[in-house]
């Protein structure tokens, strides 16, 4: 039986009816139409579903929507500024050709944002560690790492 819950996503409160077993990624995509966050493995291995919950990186495919109440959820959609300007990370990914098919990209960018929020000047090793939960089949990661390193 569905439950009435409120989720704060990208600064906006949303009143929703959710089944208790729905994951956060399902609710973001299907109920809130925020399809920037992707579903890849649904087992917490690929990071395509990465979002920030209270500033912390989380695999939303494994995170029950019920758990996300009373927390601040940030998705890739919010990185673009109000005036439409891209986030520094998004610009860097474009400049450094760090996007190919684009499927891993939102997740990697959220992982990078979580890193830079905590550690604004990471070493290359720290960048690689921070994105180690994100799988990319296209780029070989080199340009992704370069793009993140270029953002300070």
């Amino acid at each position: 039986m569905k439950k009435a819950i409120r989720l704060r996503v990208n600064g906006i409160d949303n009143d929703l009816l959710v089944e208790p077993w729905w994951s956060l990624v399902y609710v973001l995509r299907e109920e809130l139409n925020l399809t920037g966050t992707k579903i890849g493995c649904e087992t917490g291995n690929c990071g395509a579903c990465s979002v920030l919950v209270d500033g912390e990186l989380v695999n939303s495919c494994l995170y029950p929507a019920m758990k996300a109440r009373d927390k601040d959820i940030l998705t890739i959609e919010k990185l673009r500024g109000e005036n439409g300007e891209l986030h520094a990370l998004q610009k860097a990914f474009i400049e450094h050709s760090a996007v190919q098919c684009g499927y891993c990209t939102p997740g990697v960018i959220m992982a990078a944002k979580a890193l830079l929020d905590e550690n604004p000047a990471p070493t290359e090793e720290e960048v690689r560690e921070a994105i180690s939960g994100n799988l990319c089949r296209c780029t070989g990661y080199a340009k992704i790492v370069k793009a993140i390193m270029a953002v300070k």
Binding site: T43, G44, S50, N59, P64, M66, K67, A130, S132, G133
Partner: protein
């Protein structure tokens, strides 16, 4: 799928719900294990009991007398970041640092890792090697049991009807005790290990004799496994290349992985247990 989501506010409430719905309920802490199992339909609970909101279960405390106490809801990332652990129990920091990805560590809890009872549970081996005990609360009260007696089989623990693991207790290690946790996996830390080894040993500083040692192997038995024969080789003996090699060889023989598994053949696992045990023994001996 179809489960109801319950959120007890206290330990007592959680115990009561787990008792009431015994056999039909599963505890969720972070959910990184449970949600995968639910989606794969390996478990089909009717009730999921979320203990995240119970206050006072998320802590890392140390004092000279009681030693270390870790609350069940402490995340793996918190274990990894803890300066206290890095200083006093670095083997726990090592295990926490070789655990999945940041996204997993932010949410996964030490209690969940133990209660999920995988033969490879990162936190189980170092804690067993440190002679940890766990405090369990249930309908008939509290009990404290050695962690090495906590696991029965794959996915199965001694938790009875209504019981909840609330705390991990680790004694103060004797002087000159060192520990190391080594994990062997394909894709770095995010993969579950092919095999893993935790060694904690206390050496006599002048003579280099091993006064006490615990060697705990992962992924080579239904539960984390003490390599007791390998330990006996080292106890009371001077730690040198000969004793290290002999002990590692015995550990390799003692390991009894099942004949086939997703990650590696039994042969390979046994071989790698020998390699990791040797490396770990050399490391704790400071070689």
């Amino acid at each position: 799928m179809g489960f109801d989501y319950l959120e007890p506010a206290t330990i007592e409430e959680a115990v009561s719900l787990l008792s009431k719905y015994n056999g039909k309920a599963k505890v969720i802490a972070g959910g990184t294990d449970l949600m995968v199992q639910v989606m794969n339909k390996r478990v089909k609970p009717e009730y999921v009991v979320d203990i995240e909101h119970i206050p006072g279960l998320d802590y890392i405390k140390y004092d000279e007398k009681q030693g270390l106490r870790i609350g069940t809801l402490t995340t793996i990332e918190a274990l990894k970041k803890s300066a206290e652990l890095r200083q006093r129990y670095p083997i726990i920091s090592q295990a926490a640092s070789q655990f999945g990805s940041r996204a997993i560590r932010n949410v996964a809890t030490v209690g969940g890792n133990l209660c999920n009872a995988a033969p490879t549970a990162n936190t189980a081996q170092p804690l067993i090697a440190l002679s940890a005990r766990v405090k369990i609360v249930g309908p008939s009260g509290e009990r404290v049991v050695p962690l090495e007696d906590f696991f029965i089989s794959v996915g199965s623990t001694i938790l009875e009807r209504g019981e909840l693991l609330v705390e991990i207790q680790v004694p103060v290690p004797p002087h000159n005790t060192r520990g190391v946790y080594l994990k062997h996996s394909v894709r770095g830390i995010i993969d579950l290990p092919i095999v893993s080894v935790a060694v904690v040993s206390t050496l006599e500083p002048e003579s280099g004799v091993c006064r006490d040692i615990r060697i705990v192997l992962g992924s080579v038995a239904p539960t984390p496994m003490r390599a007791r024969k390998a330990e006996e080789i080292m106890k009371g003996r001077k730690v040198d290349e000969a004793s290290i090699n002999r002990s590692a060889e015995v550990a390799s023989h003692e390991a009894h992985p099942r004949p086939s598994s997703i990650r590696a053949s039994a042969q390979y696992k046994k071989e790698m247990i020998g390699v990791l045990t040797r490396r770990a023994l050399r490391e704790v001996a400071g070689k």
